[in-house]
């Protein structure tokens, strides 16, 4: 199986290589260049340029000096050979072999590049030479010159170095042939020294280049790094960040733009915070006024209307007992029942508006009363658990907020959730109050609801946040709903 799947993979790789080479190379290069830091890039540019220049110059100078020096060596070989030939003529003609030998040795001594000098007679016998005890046999036939030639120069490859060998006929060949060999060793050494020197210079300039590049990078990247740090701080909400514009260049402009941006952001943020503060104040006042109004109406209903209706009820009771007309009795019964129902409704309304229990007995009692009532009124079974509120009551604003949040949540369950069960947990712990209201209903999509502009859930959130707390809803269609509230004390 694996054997069968392998060939396509290989083919795919080949087809990858067959794409145009240079775009591919460019992509690869950019992949590498883009991955390294600015420091490395600058360093790479500087080093690359210095090395490129250094090596190309070195190679060029090397080639040129080699050419020039070699040519000069060849010319020198000719001039030395012609000199020897001229000075040897008489010595050969008068057969002064000792003086001839002296001449050759002297020539060799006076020209450090001269590797050898020798003279052969017209019959080809070596008359004098500078090799000492013997003579390299192959050398004799390695160069020659016609008797009427000015000179004849060849480059001989020897076991020591290249030798520029010039043959010059002496006295038109009648006195033989002078041969002079100039070794290219010193030329090679000079070229080597030159090359070494230039490479050394290149290395030294590279070192300077590295130092310069490091400095340059530091100068260029320091403001950028500073900007980056500042931007990160701004990202985390610190709008007081200002960076120092190091230079009057593009990066300096960027720093100035950055500073302007953070200043504007800070101002906008401040305005927003002020508005938010105002809004919260307003909301708080509205809610407080609303609660006060509800409390007043509830008390009015309870105290005034309730009392009035109750006294009516009492008098109706008395009238009923004292009534002489039996035929009026059923009507009075009806009246009393209607009155009792109205009284009940008024009681319920005042409860709904603002249960006096909340003010008088506290949150726990109020919630117990509300849930009891709720369970009686709706087909949902809700459990209530209150922890940590037995000893000390919560501050009144917290009590009101928690009561309203539970009230709204339970109302939503009754109206929207189609739930069978629900639960309410109110817990005071570690200086916080935690409220969880859950149901096993149909759930909903909170995103969509937020867009619908309903006010119930929004109001709950506002209440929690006004007290410096949080409210989160966990729900999904078909998964039930949980409302979590946490309020610090």
């Amino acid at each position: 199986m694996s054997l069968l799947t392998k060939p396509p993979v290989t083919r795919k790789r080949f087809s990858g290589i067959s794409t145009p080479f240079f775009p591919w190379l460019a992509a690869r290069l950019w992949h590498f260049i883009g991955a390294v830091s600015v420091r490395t890039k600058i360093l790479g540019i500087v080093l690359g340029l210095v090395l490129l220049l250094g090596i190309v110059t070195t190679l060029e100078v090397r080639a040129m000096s080699q050419r020039a020096l070699t040519q000069r060596l060849a010319e020198q070989s000719v001039s030395v050979a012609r000199d020897v030939a001229a000075r040897a003529t008489d010595l050969i003609l008068i057969n002064d072999l000792y003086a001839l030998h002296q001449l050759l040795e002297e020539t060799r001594r006076n020209n450090p590049d001269v590797r050898y000098v020798f003279v052969i007679d017209p019959d080809g016998a070596v008359l004098a030479h500078t090799f000492g005890s013997g003579f390299p046999a192959e050398l004799l036939a390695a160069n020659a010159a016609p008797v009427d030639a000015h000179h004849h120069t060849v480059a001989l490859v020897t076991d020591e170095s290249t030798v520029w060998d010039t043959a010059v006929p002496i006295f038109n060949g009648q006195a033989g042939l002078a041969r002079v060999g100039l070794s290219a060793a010193s030329v090679q050494a000079t070229v080597r020294t030159l090359t070494g020197q230039m490479l050394l210079t290149t290395v030294m300039v590279s070192a300077v280049g590295i130092a310069a590049a490091v400095l340059l990078t530091w100068i260029v990247t320091r403001p950028i790094l500073e900007l980056k740090t500042a931007a990160e701080a701004v990202g985390q909400g610190d709008l007081q960040q200002q960076v120092r514009p190091w230079a009057d260049d593009e990066i300096g402009d960027l720093a100035i733009a950055f500073n302007t941006m953070t200043t504007d952001l800070a101002r906008a943020e401040q305005e927003r915070a002020e508005r938010e503060h105002l809004r919260a104040q307003l909301l708080e006042k509205v809610i407080a006024a609303q609660e006060e109004e509800r409390r007043r109406i509830a008390r009015e209903l309870h105290d005034e209307t309730g009392q009035a209706l109750t006294s009516l009820m009492v008098r109706l009771q008395m009238m009923n007992q004292q009534c002489p007309l039996p035929e009026l009795k059923p009507q009075m019964e009806d009246l009393r029942d209607g009155l009792a129902e109205t009284l009940d409704n008024i009681h319920k309304l005042s409860m709904e508006l603002r249960p006096s229990v909340l003010d008088d007995l506290g949150l726990q009692a109020a919630l117990q009363r509300y849930v009891q009532d709720y369970n009686r009124r709706y087909p949902v079974q809700v459990d209530l658990l209150v922890v940590g509120l037995e000893e000390e009551r919560l501050p009144p604003p917290v009590e009101t907020a928690v009561y309203r949040i539970v009230q709204e949540s339970l109302t939503n369950i009754a109206r929207h959730a189609h739930a069978a069960n629900g639960s309410v947990l109110v817990e005071r712990r570690h200086g916080r109050v935690r409220v969880i209201v859950e149901d096993d209903g149909i759930g909903f999509d909170p995103q969509q609801v937020a867009r619908n502009g309903r006010l119930g859930v929004y109001g709950m959130k506002e209440r929690a946040e006004l007290l410096g707390g949080t409210l989160t809803i966990e729900t999904e269609p078909g998964q039930g709903t949980s409302v979590f509230v946490e309020v610090p004390l």
Binding site: F22, L25, A26, L52, I55, V56, L59, E60, R62, A63, Q66, T89, D90, L93, I94, N95, D96, R115, Y116, D121, D123, G124, A125, V126, H129, F131, G132, S133, G134, F135, P136, A137, E138, L139, L140, A142, A155, L156, V157, T158, D159, E160, V163, F171, Q174, A175
Partner: protein, 303 residues
């Protein structure tokens, strides 16, 4: 991307340019072997010595046709032998290392006295078999006689030359002086044409040379005539002769004499003679060199 490719190509070509070397067999300079000997020619050449009356190259040039003519006449290769001094040539003659020698008069006188050198012939120039010593000064010199050269630089030709040394010394001795004290400085040029050039160039303030060589030299290099001036001429001396080697076979001697005495009779011979500055060869007598002998005696016996 293109420039990268170009750059790679340049680098590559540079590298190739640096490494390309002509391929030749390597010569072992350090492998020294015995010096190769000249191939020995089968036929023994006729060896002819020419004394350094003129410079070695001048001699080789002017005697080449003459030697070639001799070689052709005898059907033998001819080898020219030259030496720096007259004495060395005399030694060659004495040791039989040459078969024939063109020498100077004083060399003959010395050779005849020392080992019985044999006269063969002598060249004749302008119908005469005598020559002179001429005293030369630079053209711009104010010297009129030898006396005017006191304290000056004087060039001798050869230590045993009649015209180049013995005669000018005799002139100095006639003034009651010795050359060592009379001249400021003296030196030897070992040939007459170099002595003429030394005077022409102002290297020497005076020199005495062979009149034949002088005539020959100014004929070849006319500017020498303008640069030098003759202020004195000696009495006649016998012509520098041609002599034979001590051990030369009589038959060869006769043959050589025959060729020399008759070479002016054919065109090639005349051309060869003319190149050497001669008209023909004639027989001479030992007595012709008595004046030379007496001059030498008087010069060398002086304290």
């Amino acid at each position: 991307m293109k420039w990268i490719a170009c750059f790679c190509l340049i680098i590559l070509s540079l590298l190739i340019g640096c490494t390309a070397e002509p391929e030749t067999a390597v010569i072992q300079l350090s492998a020294l072997q015995p010096v190769p000997e000249a191939s020995v020619t089968a036929v023994k050449p006729l060896r002819v010595a020419v004394a350094a009356i003129i410079s070695p190259q001048g001699t080789a040039d002017s005697y080449a046709p003459l030697l070639n003519y001799l070689g052709a006449a005898l059907d033998r290769p001819v080898q020219l032998v030259q030496r720096r001094t007259y004495a060395e040539v005399n030694e060659l003659v004495q040791n039989g290392e040459v078969d024939l020698a063109f020498i100077c008069t004083s060399a003959y006188v010395a050779g005849e006295r020392d080992f019985g050198m044999q006269l063969l012939a002598a060249p004749q120039v302008q119908g005469q078999t005598v020559y002179h010593s001429v005293l030369l000064v630079p053209a711009d010199s104010r010297a009129q006689t030898m006396a005017d050269l006191r304290g000056k630089v004087f060039a001798f030709t050869d230590p045993i030359s009649t015209t180049g040394r013995n005669y000018p010394i005799s002139l100095v001795q006639q003034l009651g002086q010795s050359p060592e004290t009379f001249f400021g400085r003296t030196f030897y040029t070992y040939s007459h044409d170099d002595a003429i050039r030394a005077v022409a160039n102002g290297v020497a303030d005076g020199a005495a040379v062979d009149s034949l060589v002088y005539a020959f030299a100014i004929q070849r290099e006319p500017e020498l005539a303008a640069q030098t001036r003759i202020i004195h001429q000696s009495p006649a001396f016998g012509m520098p002769p041609v002599v034979t080697g001590t051990d030369a076979r009589p038959q060869l001697v006769a043959e050589l004499q025959n060729v020399l005495l008759h070479m002016h009779e054919d065109a090639d011979g005349r051309a060869a003679l003319q190149q050497a500055g001669f008209e023909q060869f004639v027989l001479v007598d030992d007595a012709d060199y008595d004046t030379v002998r007496s001059l030498e005696l008087s010069v060398n016996n002086q304290p």
